[in-house]
């Protein structure tokens, strides 16, 4: 009798397909790989921004946060929106692959891309901008930020992809990317923003994620607040995605 494959085999095959397709999506490589690297290099080289201390110390965590946003919100959201548009999700839904397996595969592919992005950004900071990890920094917070940030932004991306038309998801994901770049404490400290934008920025997940990464590199930041903000966004986004997601 025909039976489903083991969950591990099905999920691994789906993850491999996700990574293969991600690599073929040239326009998304621009936003995931190139933009965070350019933001880091450009703003660290021209000191136009009122950052405290050396620019690279402020900008590297910001670029890492931008990388997470690019991959889990923009890339995943747009790709999933078009998969829904083309009926790919519907067809997969009729196969023995389960929804949790598909979700795990997508998350695994996102995290794999993020690891590459992190390696590239840290290598740029280390090799070109003279950045060194401060001794005794709680680097494990990098992992906490990666996980919480991926959940929150991927949740937002999937909530858009599952409920909106693909074209609208594309436009909205790019608009949010820009908003988070400007208001998310990525290149500009949020205390430099005029009121009430600074208050708004403080409760956005982008600033929370960037602060968490700054804390990982030894900066003084309110880690608990960052974790609470990210977790709240993550729970809300996943709840919305679970309610509104439809296959067609």
């Amino acid at each position: 009798m025909s039976a489903p494959a083991s969950p591990l085999r099905a999920t691994a095959a789906m993850t491999a397909m996700e990574l293969r397709i991600t690599a073929r999506r040239g326009e998304n490589l621009l936003v995931t790989i190139v933009i965070p690297a350019v933001v880091l290099l450009f703003f660290a080289s021209v000191s136009v921004l009122p950052t405290p201390g050396r620019p690279v110390d402020f900008l590297l965590p910001g670029a890492l946060a931008l990388a997470v946003i690019a991959t889990s919100l923009v890339n995943l959201g747009i790709a999933t929106g078009y998969e829904r548009h083309y009926g790919v999700l519907k067809r997969l839904g009729g196969s023995p692959l389960t929804r949790p397996q598909l979700l795990v595969a997508k998350m695994a592919a996102v995290v794999a891309v993020e690891v590459v992005q992190f390696a590239l950004l840290i290598a740029i900071a280390f090799g070109l901008l003279g950045w060194r990890p401060p001794p005794g920094a709680p680097l494990s917070l990098l992992l906490v930020g990666l996980v919480l940030g991926t959940i929150a932004f991927a949740g937002l991306g999937l909530a858009m992809a599952g409920g909106l038309r693909a074209e609208l998801t594309l436009a909205l994901a790019n608009a949010l990317f820009l908003a988070f770049l400007l208001l998310g404490g990525i290149v500009l400290p949020i205390d430099q923003l005029p009121a009430p934008l600074d208050t708004l920025a403080a409760i956005l997940p982008a600033a929370a994620l960037a602060d968490l990464f700054r804390a990982a590199f030894g900066a003084s930041a309110n880690v608990v607040w960052s974790v609470v903000v990210l977790a709240a966004w993550g729970i809300a986004a996943i709840a919305i995605a679970a309610r509104t997601f439809s296959w067609e």
Partner: protein, 325 residues
Amino acid sequence: MSDPAPAIAIRDLVKEYDGRAVLGGVSFEVARGEVFAVLGPNGAGKTTTAEILAGYRKADAGEVRVMRADPWRAGPSLRARVGLMLQNGGMEPRARPDEILRLYAAFHAHPRDPDDLIDLVGLRGVAGTRYRRLSGGERQRLAFAVALVGRPELLILDEPTAGMDPGARSSTRELIRGLRSDGAAVLLTTHDLVDVERLADRVAIIDAGRIVAMGTPAKLIAAGAPRLALRFAKPLEMGELASLAAMVRRGRKGAGVRGELGDRSSAFIEGLAPDPGLVAAVTRWAAARGVLITELRAAGRTFEERYLELTGDSAASVAAPDEEP
């Protein structure tokens, strides 16, 4: 080994979209090793039926069993036993046919060899081409291969031969016949009458959400009332049609002539069983009028004629008028 329960059993299936009834009480069963065709015009409810059976939609009322399970609630173990082919592909445009087939193979414990399947459906030449560059027929063949990869016990194929060229159509039908002889059940929707005549063990003709006829194709054709079908080299004048009708009615109670609305190049003599005397009378009438008969068929209907009758397209036919006084 084999489960005696039918592969598909649905009873009084009802489905509405926005208060509009798409299925108004559909019932049928499909046995193991049977090819069952659901035939009907666009919008008749074929795809909705297939999608309910595939577990994509929930019936508003009625009972649905696919190998004893409710497809709406069923999990991966039922989906592993059912091979699906939907309309509009549903494949990632950037993926290649060999990759897609290997992916779906990896969802099954004992899949068919994806490489063999590529050859079987004739996609070897484009196995490494991105999906978005495939032709419509190639996409259909890939979707068919994906439906087969898990060695399904039941295939649900929504218009499988649509968009295929005649060669691919014919080899797809051959493959479906092979699956049937291996014991698989096949439900296919189509509006290709050739699919039904060449492939289906039984057919349900569905129109406006209701089954209007069901049985073997031969039985459905035979079930039509007997008649004589005529085709003429050029359309009859209205007066010629009336004269033919008058000739036929003379001494034959209940007989009548129907022509097709807007196209009087064919006519049907109905209401009586064709006999040698009728055929002779008709040809005599044609000779006297200088009308050339290009086709004359007394052996009942073609499947197409029967189908058009059953699906209400007979509204396009018109009774010949009485002879002018």
